[in-house]
Amino acid sequence: MRRFLFAAAAPVGALAVTLVITSIALILFGSNPLEAYGDMLSHASKLETQVDILNRATPYYLSAVAAAIGFRMNLFNIGVEGQYLFALLIAAQVGSLVALPQVFHILLIMTVAMAVGAAYAGIAGVLKVTRGVNEVISTIMLNSIAISGLIALLQQRWQAEQENFTSTTLGTNPIDESGLMPNINGLLEIFTRDIGQGKELTGVLLVAVLVGVAYHLLLTRMRFGFDLRASGLNPFAARAGGVPPKQMIVAAMCLSGAVAGLIGMVELADTGKFSPNPIKGLGFGGIAVALLGRNHPGGMVLSALLFAFLDVSSGILQNTEAATKEIVNIMQGIVLLVAVVAYGVTKRIQTREEARATAEALRSSEPAEVLA
């Protein structure tokens, strides 16, 4: 309980501070903060908006898990962005080339996406262990290579043949219906009224839940997860304890990339192809979500929902003109900054508390000690 309170105090406090700072900013811009927050909340109370939020939270969560796998052993995979876009392109292309029964078609596409993400992230891992290249640098460069190089090139080669195409219809050949993850509106509608406005709740949400559970089990129940955390907590002790540092780096990067490969599945289920302008920024957003959620499988659910809520709110603010829509980006930035500081502070307090409590418990419980 105490541990939980400690864990919750920082993000709740960070949120409160964020609201104060954002309110000041809004007042300075000449907006009424209460009106803006009111619009955001009333918008979010609609079922259709909630579907939007879940549809956005899903890729954020996957992206956050991808980043968190690296963070757990002090590896900074900044390349989630490039990994998922590249994986999305290849998976979309492979998916469009085959016709299979639905289950196999979807599994094939997901497997390809994960494999491509893993392989692409693995490059950074291999460079680190063989050449000592810092993974931050290499993943940033691999992002550029993927986005401006490989994707731009392959996108042209693979673009669908159309008679009178305009730039909006460009993209890879569409995948057959059998390759598209069905929506799970039915699942949600068991609990709610029917979803309107043609909104579809992405089926990838279930994949994200599975990934979250798998991540939790990996960290707490699996020997590999123990090695991963040990490498992050103290790489020297881990090495002396038999954890092979080089293999761990490559494995962690590949695993991170494999999860990153799943991010694009949300968009693919929606559009059925690699569209000319895929949603960007999910990879970088995931890093923020992971930091805010402290790499914790449950914490990242909350932070993914928060970020998704803010993303989705920008639309309504634009409509009602209660505030400038950019305020949501400002809020995302501030909450992250404040939270990271708050985590640092609570960590220090917690460490001190624990040392004190341990010393006290020993003093009161020990009988006069007899030295051997």
């Binding site: 020297f236 304890g241 954890v243």
Partner: protein, 510 residues
């Protein structure tokens, strides 16, 4: 004339430890003053306080008779104190001159660096103190000893008259040490005061005018270097009030547990840090390795545990060649490891005790298997360790950092011994822990020995070494130079072999 440095009653506490406990230190002007003590005796903390890197909790500092309070190293530099760190802080891609003026560049009004002026000033400083260096050399092309000279000149360039050298000889080979000592004598001629930290006793005796010995954070002696012997110093450093571990009946068997043959290990620069070592430990035997720190003991441990590449030779455990095995395979084959620095290689301080207990054994029952971690088994085993090894903790879920050093050490000893190893590597197993925990650790090691455990014991505590070991070998500059029976050896004899003052024939030592 007032002393260059006068520290009175300096006390510095960290959570759970007192690093400096009422330390007094007086350094006269123009002398070379050595500060020695074991690792963890508080030398570095004291120097950090003197250089303004950390504030003291209590006590006063006087520099040239004036009382001072340093908020940062800048304040110390303003008072003419400079420090040369053990690890050099030089930019390889810059020249000697550029490195020296870095951060203290003489600039014109427009912001341009006045290199001519800097070079003239550098020449002046170098001349004053008789140090030679070519200001235009690239630092990357310099030898270790020359780099150190650059660091020293850098400090002098900033006007330091009192130099703190933190273990300056640790990174040098013997010839370079000689050159450093010549430079130190030149500096003294030039009027500088030098405080230097070292624990190689022969070096301390050779170069210093006065010596202060620290032990467990306290000043135990301060004296002129006049008729002092290495043995006196060793005794002061280690202390003799410790309960001596008794030598019990021999449990040595005929079965060889660890056999090392012709082992050679080189460091990154290709220098041999271990040369052609042959060694064997039998079941039930404790083999003690004596040696001044930094003579290859750490490299020997790394080679056995598998964390360093070896240049040649072979290692076998219970007759199986393990030379090419990974660290994990070696641990699984039955090597237990109590590392020299429990915070560095022993524990995950932010993780709960039961996870720390699993570290190193996570692939084996009861902690886990190839794929899974067995939380229940690990927790049960940790509870066993807590009880059998008397780890004082409220429960097994507290983080390792919350325990005292002695209890952390008992946890490590416990996790290694309960995994029933066939070889235990114990590096300084009782360093920095209280007397009660020390006695407990000795008792546990002796009990495991009676059960047939082979132990490689490395210790700077000569009494511990003599008391626990069945055989003692002495390491000097990466070689085994002597093989002794603990029954008929005194700390004084050991000291002589450790410093190279006494010799054994090669045939005897091997």
């Amino acid at each position: 004339m007032s002393a260059a440095i006068e520290l009175t009653g300096i006390t510095k506490r960290f959570p759970g430890v007192i690093a400096n406990d009422n330390v007094n230190l007086t350094v006269e002007k123009g002398e070379i003053h050595a500060i020695c003590g074991e690792n963890g005796a508080g030398k570095s903390t004291l120097m950090k306080i003197l250089y303004g890197m950390q504030p003291a909790d209590e006590g006063t500092m006087k520099v040239n008779g004036e009382e001072v309070v340093f908020g940062s190293p800048t304040d110390a530099i303003d008072r003419g104190i400079g420090m040369v760190h053990q690890h050099f802080m030089l930019a390889d891609q810059l020249t000697v001159l550029e490195n020296i003026i870095l951060g203290a560049e003489p600039t014109s009004a427009g912001g341009a660096i006045k290199f001519k002026e800097a070079e003239a000033h550098l020449a002046e400083v170098a001349d004053d103190y008789g140090l030679t260096i070519d200001p235009d050399d690239m630092v990357e092309s310099l030898e270790v000893g020359e780099r150190q000279r650059v660091e020293i000149i850098k400090v002098l360039y900033r006007g330091a008259e009192i130099l703190i050298l933190d273990e300056p000889t640790a990174v040098l080979v013997p010839q370079e040490v000689e050159a450093l000592f010549d430079n130190m004598r030149e500096l003294k001629e030039g009027g500088a005061t030098i405080i230097f930290i070292d624990h190689k006793l022969d070096e301390v005796l050779e170069i210093s005018d006065s010596i202060t010995v620290l032990r467990h954070g306290k000043t135990v002696a301060s004296m002129p270097n006049d008729g002092v012997t290495a043995h006196d110093l060793a005794e002061l450093m280690v202390g003799s009030e410790l309960p001596t571990p008794d030598t019990t009946e021999s449990t040595v068997t005929d079965h060889v547990a660890l056999a090392i043959s012709e082992l050679t290990v080189a460091d990154e620069d290709g220098r041999a840090v271990i040369e052609n070592i042959n060694l064997s430990i039998r079941k039930g035997e404790i083999l003690g390795i004596a040696g001044v720190e930094g003579n290859g003991q750490g490299d020997l441990v790394d080679a056995i545990i598998g964390t360093t590449d070896i240049l040649g030779g072979s290692i076998s455990l219970l007759g199986d060649d393990i030379t090419r095995l990974s660290v994990r395979k070696r641990r699984e084959a039955g090597i237990g490891y109590v590392p020299e620095d429990r915070h560095h290689e022993g524990l995950m301080l932010d993780a709960p005790l039961w996870e720390n207990a699993a570290l190193g054994h996570q692939t084996q029952a009861p902690y886990g298997s190839r794929w899974l971690l067995n939380r229940k088994g690990a927790r049960a085993q940790t509870t066993t360790i807590k009880e059998e090894f008397d780890v004082r903790t409220p429960n097994i879920d507290v983080s390792a950092h919350a325990l005292s050093g002695g209890n952390q050490q008992k946890l490590i000893i416990g996790r290694e011994l309960t995994s029933n190893p066939s070889l235990l590597i114990a590096a300084h197993p009782t360093r920095g822990i209280d007397v009660g925990a020390q006695a407990a650790v000795w008792e546990q090691i002796r009990a495991a020995r009676a059960d047939g455990l082979a132990t490689l014991l490395i210790s700077a505590d000569l009494d511990e070494l003599i008391g626990l070991s069945d055989t003692i070998v002495v390491m000097l500059r990466g070689k085994l130079v002597a093989r002794l029976a603990p029954e008929d050896v005194t700390p004084r004899d050991l000291g002589a072999y450790m410093t190279g003052a006494a010799h054994q024939d090669d045939s005897e030592a091997a």
